[in-house]
């Protein structure tokens, strides 16, 4: 009766889990409940892909349990560039700027995510500007990191010409 056990996985548990995520810290419980209700709780086995690079971006994922690897394609094969764990949000960039997935995300263990559709995500951001600001801060910090890494690389490897 595997199916029935999963049925017992309650919406309120999801809300409790969402509350612990910094991004949603300022959002009140009723709204998180709506978010959880309009999202899909998905289980993955190790090795399953959440999405592949090049796929159309239609959702963001919040990791509820387990870990996942972020992989990019290189001529030498896929390379792991980051790892995401419980309470992390992944895949939100694609839905924000409407580009195909830039990386592949694959479950590194048994994984449970909450899949927030593009519409659900925008609903949340427009209803709670705080969430939008939180995401801006997160993105800005990632951009900062990337720029630093790039500067580092440029210093190590001067331009060819």
């Amino acid at each position: 009766m595997t199916h029935n056990n999963e049925g017992a996985m309650n919406l309120n548990d999801d809300v409790q889990a969402l509350k612990t995520i910094p991004l949603f810290a300022k959002v009140d419980a009723a709204k998180l409940k709506l978010l959880a209700f309009t999202s899909e709780r998905l289980s993955y086995a190790e090795g399953d892909a959440l999405f592949e690079a090049g796929d159309p971006a239609d959702a963001a994922y919040i990791v509820m349990q387990g870990e996942a690897d972020v992989l990019v394609r290189t001529p030498e094969g896929p390379v792991k560039v980051a790892s995401v764990g419980q309470n992390d949000i992944v895949g939100e960039i694609g839905i924000l700027c409407d580009v195909p997935r830039t990386a592949t995300v694959r479950a590194a263990s048994d994984l449970v995510t909450l899949r927030i559709s593009k519409d659900g995500f925008f609903h949340l951001v427009t209803q709670f500007p705080e969430v939008g600001i939180e995401i801006m801060a997160e993105l800005a910090s990632r951009l900062h990191q990337t720029t630093q890494q790039l500067t580092e690389l440029m210093r190590q490897r001067p331009p060819a010409r």
Partner: protein
């Protein structure tokens, strides 16, 4: 079409009009006899001297004579009634035939409108004119000649009688007729002018409604409801004031008419009275004249009404016809194709000049020669005239000057059906019509009237269509030209359509539609055993692979399926009758009986109460038109306040004792939709599931036989015709919450279908899927692919593509470009597009800019002579 309604009536119904007239005249003597008879009964049979009377050469006693006359009277009543019946039915038929003819001709006109005219005439206007505005003409047409003849005749007869009695008073009776004839039309014309304005105004109203319905989302999105409501109110206000003016004028006419009609009696009494007192006239003569004048009133009134209707009808007719007679009307489609385009070897433009709908020159004195067959790209800056050039090539637009030749035939001089055989055109917003996808794909093969295939038209249908000048061809017959499609008969056509669908990359969509669409009785019969075999294979795989077992939850009569709704679990089947559909279950007597007997009704209502609480909480702040209601809520935005009131009115504990039937139904309706694994609300716990299973068994056992046939029960050993092919194969539900379950299961189903070689049969099922009105059930991309498919289905030798791939996404455009070119190898394509990277693949490129052809030749960068060598 005739300029005036009388011209139209004479041209199409003069024989019938004569017949009505003749019938009317023949009926008159009987009518007079009937009017006369009572006088004879009173004067002759009852009055007069005693003794026998002569009756049609027979000698009758006075009593027999009385009865003979009375029987004659009864006979005349019947004869007159019969005449009236026949004349009225015939008038109605004649009017309706003319109306049918008129509507048909107007519809034909729409099909011949020049492209620009559709910007002037909205759909709402056209509908209003063809449906409503011509309607009163039917009634008028039946009376057009008979009424004035009949009533005029009566009028003249009575007048003659009056003049014989006394010329002076006869003259008095018609003294004001000239005034009425002069004045009333003047007023009437004003009323009619107002009427015309009203008609125009109603069209504006119709347009506003039409625009609002199609743009309601944008209106709401811009919160423009108040503005739109006010604008609509303004338009209604105009209608009101026009009507107000009409009332004032119309009843003024009535007032004047009445006054003038009563003026004659005034003269009779005053002048006639004076003459009587002077001894120049007897009282009897005066009374006779007054009686005659009273009789005069009826036909005169009829004639005046007729006169007013006549004006109405004339104006309506002329107005409508004028709207349907734009300059540049295309030629009528002909039944037989006189000239054959065949497979042309040359495309030649000679001084070709084309103007667009705004009279702008979009193609200016263009000259070129191209050898065919070739794949020709037409490119250049947008608006350079590519669109117009292609429309001319497809005979959809007539050039202003010069010509475009296909082979040695001037395209613009060809009959529409001649090009239809060999030239196909696809624009960038292909329209899909109501009917199945198959019907839509076959549309291009239906341009020749059906050869011999019988449709459902009866002999009477055929005769009536002919009498109304309607199409003599049976719209219900099989119009498909199988030879043109290159197949033997109807049985072979599906394979060809599947092939075409593959070329336009619609095959996956057809397969998906076939897979998810209702199987139907025919599908169940054709595929039944194979589907059961596929079901067995799925079960085998599920047993072998525990991972797969997690993705599909099968239907087991002894188990609760947590990926199906509570209703499905309860019925354990698919409704075949509306009474067992989800929305109607809470009022289904048999279901309620079972629920009550097991005590489940209280439990479910309690679950419904909990659910209502959650929904009210979740959706509390959302505006009523929010997308989430449609996607997620168990409760519509309109019902939410009811539920909010309900949970405010009673507590959870009171649910068990709830008496009100409406409240009971409301609460019961909610949990029936619940899917535990999807909604994760935890309301349907294992003990409740066990109770539902009990109710399922009880329902199955207690349902009367007559009700049983209204549900297709889930039966492991039988196909379910109310369910889809996929559901029949899976015999279960795809589990919610399992990542990629959809894809994995789809792959499994696809694999098993291929193993059993069922794909073609399922694509065929998909061909039968309904497209919806205007193709609403398809995506924009699917509609466009259907439009491409129906162009290819008729095997054109020249395919004109006016940037048809624009609505598709980029990668799909590239793939289709390749498959279309491969499919059309050795045939001609004229393809306007904006993809420089495609040009190298074409044989020839026409570059247009500013209405001129800049260059014609091999694609840029191609080696000289490459085309000739190929």
């Amino acid at each position: 079409m005739h300029a005036t309604i009388f011209g139209y009536i004479r041209a199409h119904s003069w024989r019938q009009q004569l017949l009505i007239l003749a019938l009317t005249l023949v009926s008159l003597p009987f009518f007079y006899l009937w009017v006369e008879l009572p006088k004879r009964i009173v004067d002759d049979a009852l009055g007069g001297p005693a003794g026998p009377r002569e009756f049609w050469g027979l000698e009758l006693s006075r009593l027999d004579y009385l009865f003979a006359l009375c029987l004659l009277f009864l006979g005349l009543v019947l004869i007159n009634g019969a005449f009236k019946y026949v004349i009225n039915v015939y008038k109605g038929v004649v009017g309706e035939r003319m109306l049918r003819r008129l509507r048909y001709e107007l519809y034909q006109r729409i099909l011949r409108f020049p492209p620009g005219h559709f910007r002037v005439m909205s759909q709402g206007q056209l509908v209003q004119m063809i449906n409503a505005e011509v309607e009163p003409l039917g009634g008028f047409i039946g009376d057009a000649y008979a009424l004035p003849a009949y009533q005029g005749g009566m009028l003249l007869t009575i007048l003659a009688f009056m003049f014989v009695q006394n010329p002076l008073l006869g003259f008095a009776a018609i003294l004001f007729y000239p005034l009425q004839i002069w004045l009333i039309p003047k007023l009437q014309r004003q009323v009619n002018e107002l009427g015309r304005r009203r008609v125009r105004q109603m069209r504006v109203v119709a347009e506003r409604i039409g625009e609002t319905t199609s743009g309601v989302i944008d209106i709401r999105a811009n919160a423009a409801q108040n503005y739109e409501q006010s604008r609509f109110a303004d338009e209604l206000g105009k209608v009101f004031f026009i009507r107000f003016a009409i009332f004032k004028k119309k009843f003024l006419i009535k007032f004047i008419n009445n006054f003038l009609a009563q003026f004659a009696p005034f003269l009779f009494y005053s002048v006639g009275g004076y003459l009587v007192l002077q001894g120049e006239l007897t009282i009897g003569a005066i009374l006779a004249i007054i009686a005659a004048h009273e009789k005069l009133a009826a036909p005169w009134k009829e004639l005046l009404t007729y006169y007013q209707n006549l004006w109405d009808a004339r104006i309506k007719y002329e107005q409508v016809v004028a709207q349907f007679d734009p300059p540049g009307l295309l030629r009528e489609i002909d039944a037989a194709a006189p000239a054959d385009v065949g497979a042309p070897t040359l495309l030649q433009a000679k001084g070709l000049t084309v103007v667009d709908d705004d009279d702008e020159t979009v193609v200016n004195a263009v000259e070129f020669d191209l050898e065919l067959p070739a794949h020709v790209a037409v490119t250049g800056r947008p608006g350079g005239g590519q669109h117009a050039l292609l429309q001319v090539a497809a005979n959809l637009r007539a050039p202003l000057a010069g010509s475009l030749h296909l082979g040695d035939l001037d395209v613009a001089k060809l009959a529409p059906s001649a090009t239809a055989d060999h030239v196909a055109y696809v624009g960038n917003s292909g329209q899909v019509f109501a009917g199945s996808l198959r019907d839509n794909l076959l549309l291009g093969l239906k341009h020749k009237p059906p050869a011999g295939g019988k449709g459902s038209r009866t002999r009477q249908d055929v005769l009536e269509a002919k009498a109304s000048g309607n199409s003599p061809f049976d719209g219900t017959a099989d119009w498909v030209d199988y030879t043109a499609a290159g197949v033997a008969d109807a049985k072979a056509i599906d394979a060809w359509l599947a092939e075409v669908a593959t070329v336009v990359r619609l095959d996956q969509d057809l397969f998906a539609l076939g897979l998810r669409g209702e199987l139907g009785a025919a599908g169940a019969e054709a595929l039944g055993p194979s589907l059961l075999e596929a079901r067995r294979l799925v079960a085998e795989r599920r047993e072998a692979d525990p991972k797969l077992a997690r993705l599909i939850e099968g239907f087991d009569p002894e188990r609760y399926n947590s990926n199906a709704t509570v209703a499905e679990n309860l019925l354990f089947g698919t409704p075949l009758d509306a009474a067992y559909e989800l929305e109607r279950l809470p009022e289904n007597r048999f279901v309620l009986e079972v629920l009550a007997a097991t005590g489940l009704d209280v439990r479910l209502r309690q679950a419904g109460y909990a659910l209502a609480e959650t929904m009210v909480e979740l959706f509390a702040d959302l505006p009523p038109d929010h997308e989430y209601y449609r996607q997620f809520s168990f409760i519509g935005p309109d019902d939410l306040p009811d539920y909010r009131a309900l949970i405010g009115r009673i507590t959870a504990a009171e649910v068990a004792k709830l008496k009100d039937g409406r409240d009971r139904r409301r609460l019961l309706a909610l949990p029936l939709r619940l899917i535990p694994t999807r909604h994760r609300l935890g309301v349907i716990d294992p003990p409740l599931q066990a109770e539902i299973l009990q109710a399922r068994r009880r329902l199955r056992a207690h349902l009367p036989a007559s009700e049983r046939s209204k549900i297709a029960f889930f039966d492991p050993e039988a196909v379910n015709r109310a369910a889809s092919v996929q559901d029949n194969i899976l015999f279960g539900r795809i589990a919610y919450g399992q990542a990629n379950a959809g894809q994995v299961v789809a792959a499994l189903v696809g694999e098993i279908i291929d193993r059993l070689d069922l794909r073609a049969a399922i694509v065929t099922l998909g061909l039968g899927a309904p497209a919806g009105i205007g193709g609403v059930r398809l995506t924009a991309a699917q509609r466009q692919k259907v439009a491409l498919g129906r162009a290819l289905a008729r095997r054109p030798s020249v395919l004109v593509l006016d940037d048809p791939l624009a609505p598709l996404d980029r990668t799909e455009q590239d793939r289709l470009q390749e498959s279309l070119r491969a499919h059309m190898a050795g045939r001609t394509m004229l393809w306007a597009h904006q993809h420089p990277e495609w040009l190298a693949a074409f044989d020839r490129v026409i570059v247009m800019d500013g209405a001129a052809v800049v260059s014609v030749g091999p694609p840029p960068g191609a080696q000289a002579g490459a085309h000739e060598a190929a």
